[in-house]
Symmetry: C2
Subunit: 279 residues, 2 copies
């Protein structure tokens, strides 16, 4: 009988200070697998609907309690489905309860600061659920692939990231990081679909293909970054993401588990309001 998949099987081993752990290889994770599928796309969708409603309730409690903070970091290659995940997983969450920070190429003002400056400003406040759509991880991935930083500089950035995320965690922020893992074939199909539909051309730039040509370099850069920054208080998960419905379900399940670990309760009733009659 097949062993039932557990979410933690997809958690990147925690960084151990570089003491001889075997290097992480993303090839060990099959992007087309669907370990948390409910059995069919339709069943996945139904389960996601249930999860989404539960997330909505959890977010309301988070907001009501105004104590904990939750940060979801989404990373992945082009077309891996960061935008689609946000839309699908948070469809039922009150838009007032969700803040999405999208990190693009830094502006001159942002680039004039350290690489965590613009990110820190977007950290969730008490009672907030924040999603990072791309993040500070771009600043270790891109310069590594382009050879703009030495490996010693990259290592220092990994350390800065670990310290920064420890600060967030120490201040009551639950941090969860998801790498949306797609295959190169699946990316080809998705890019081709955008090209074949002319109304989607605005989403597409020929420069986007540059990263595809450097596919293997990016996979190695991701493996290095994930291994160096997966920690107990800010773990990385590899999400098999060739199947959109599976991807959504797994991200929702992970996030729900985080929420359920927070002991979120509505604040107690106020004595001053009990029995009050409005006139």
């Amino acid at each position: 009988m097949a062993k039932r998949a557990k979410l933690d099987d997809f958690r990147v081993p925690f960084f151990d200070g570089g003491k001889g752990a075997k290097a992480l290889s993303l090839a060990d994770f099959d992007p087309s697998s669907k370990p948390f599928s409910a059995g069919s796309k339709q069943a996945d969708r139904e389960r996601l609907t249930a999860y989404a409603a539960r997330l909505d309730e959890m977010q309301e409690r988070l907001h009501a309690q105004r104590r904990e903070r939750v940060l979801l970091v989404l990373q992945g290659m082009d077309t891996s489905g960061k935008d689609g995940t946000i839309r699908a997983v948070f469809h039922e969450v009150d838009p007032l309860g969700l803040r999405i920070a999208t990190f693009r190429v830094p502006s001159p003002d942002e680039a004039a600061h350290d690489f965590l400056w613009r990110v820190h400003r977007q950290a969730p406040a008490a009672g907030e659920l924040t999603i990072f759509n791309r993040s500070h991880y771009e600043d270790v991935l891109v310069p590594r692939v382009r050879g703009e930083l030495t490996s010693a500089e990259i290592e220092r950035r990994y350390a800065h990231i670990r310290h920064f995320e420890t600060l967030l965690a120490d201040s009551g922020t639950a941090v969860i990081k998801c790498f949306l893992h797609i295959s190169k074939d699946e990316q080809r199909e998705r890019l081709q679909a955008r090209i074949d539909d002319e109304t989607k051309h605005w989403k597409f730039d020929l420069a986007d293909l540059e990263a595809r040509r450097q596919w293997d370099d990016y996979q190695a850069a991701y493996a290095g970054a994930l291994a160096a920054t997966s920690t107990e208080h800010a773990p990385w998960y590899v999400i098999p993401a060739d199947s959109k419905s599976h991807r959504n379900l797994m991200v929702a399940a992970l996030l729900l588990r985080v929420f359920e670990g927070l002991d979120l309760e509505y604040p107690p009733a106020k004595e001053s309001l009990k029995g009050l009659s409005i006139t």
Copy 2:
């Protein structure tokens, strides 16, 4: 045969420089009326679903074109349904395409600037749809009711608001402002419901009742502000809001009309992508 209601019947007459127009009275608008109802709550909901899907499409075009900007300002007494409107009307809009700015009591840093400073920072960028959940209008309503500003000072603030909104409009921002108009009786019921449900106490503060005691003063302050700041490029609409389903439907209809006036098209296909085959 009854005259069919038009959206513009609920538009506050444009400010004419104070040249003897008769004063606006909110009592002329019945909060419990449902002029744009589809006939029943159920029919309202179905129509709203259709509107919401259309808004989603419009928002995508707005984003794709990255030229126009849309700003919806929501104001109203406590429990008038600002939060509920946002949730219901924008349920189908991609959370990535929506930015909500909630204005609370100013922080010390905010209060150390002019009253439009924090608001200007939240103005929509090209391609953005932004909702102001409360707004700079609080800064003419509250000080007027509390007697903290002279009427000359209030008039100067009205002028500042008109100039500011003209700047936004001149820069390509479609501004639409909705006053969610509820009756004092309806507010009583909604407040009482919050008190009777102890899990809702966190939403409630005894100080909230202060504004209710000053109901008539606030109605007068709203009437004054709406009359002084309804302009062709930033009109105010009075939304009968005792019925939630009617309120949602009317706000959605107004916003759709704004979007449809913008001539939003997807950017043209890119020659460089035509016939391209991804490898």
